[in-house]
Symmetry: C2
Subunit: 177 residues, 2 copies
């Protein structure tokens, strides 16, 4: 089976975005000159799976940031919601997380970048996440979209790497045990 991998920036209070999906709290960090390993992480994965919320946020960026294929998990979006210039690079599917993994396997994709709070929560609960590469951002925002949600049982983690950047971002990497 393919494995799910998470790379996310979160506030110290655990949010990946405000309720309206905005990332202003992240964009304002003074991280110039820092290499947080995002490009290396993207090189290491075969496909990006995200929810419709993350998809809309990324669509709002000046340029589409991904070279790797993107699969949007959504019950509401259809192919008609994909801008023409992204045809062939982004597709919408309405599959369960398990069925997504089976579909990825059928395509020969092994390492899945699982992106977005709701999507990470659903994959994690099903045991489909192998590791986390988190950037803890030195801010508290009090409300928003959480990375972690309720679980059916505890999940033990193994810390595999830490790195503190001058901006105050702290990278923490964990494997799901």
């Amino acid at each position: 089976m393919p494995t799910g991998h998470v790379m996310m920036a979160i506030t110290l209070d655990g949010y990946v975005a405000r309720k309206d999906h905005s990332l202003d709290w992240l964009m304002k960090q003074n991280t110039a000159g820092e290499n947080h390993g995002f490009a290396e992480f993207l090189d290491s994965i075969d496909v990006i799976v995200m929810g419709s919320g993350s998809f809309r946020t990324v669509l709002g960026f000046d340029t589409w940031p991904y070279k790797k294929p993107v699969v949007v998990l959504s019950q509401s979006l259809t192919g008609a919601d994909i801008p023409p210039e992204l045809t062939g690079r982004v597709e919408v599917v309405a599959l369960t997380p398990q069925d997504v993994m089976i579909e990825m396997e059928n395509r020969g994709w092994q390492r899945i970048y699982v992106d977005g709070g709701a999507i990470v929560q659903s994959f994690l609960k099903l045991g489909l996440i192998s590791d986390f590469k988190l950037a803890i951002v030195p801010i508290l925002i009090g409300d928003g979209i959480r990375l972690f949600g309720d679980l059916t049982s505890d999940i033990d983690l193994k810390l595999t790497h830490t790195n503190a950047f001058p901006s105050g971002l702290v990278e923490l990497r964990y494997k799901v045990v």
Copy 2:
């Protein structure tokens, strides 16, 4: 005015305890031989302020762990709820966070250890916390008492120290900017 200081162990998903205040997830960590600086932190503060939930948890320990005076903020407990052997070491007050700080100042206490999820949240919202010394524990428990709650505005932090322990605990220290 005195300053509020937080030292807490939290799960990676942001909980200081389960809903029933239990710390089994923390106690099971293999931290033998590690110095997390708890004794040094206690030496550095003048008084411990906690809520009734934390107080009941600490009462359940085999021995009372604190030499420093403890002030329990509670609207429901009274002096009669303090075990006789703790008389003179623990007192119950029904003050607001601001009035607690004024009372501490009147007593000449400058550095206040603010302990417990609900109490930290109320002090933080009022701008009464100066810094955090957190131990991020490598586990997700999915539900419990959160360290951070809603805020009236963002709180920017400055990372001042990090340290990763063999157990996988990561110490992160922040100053409230």
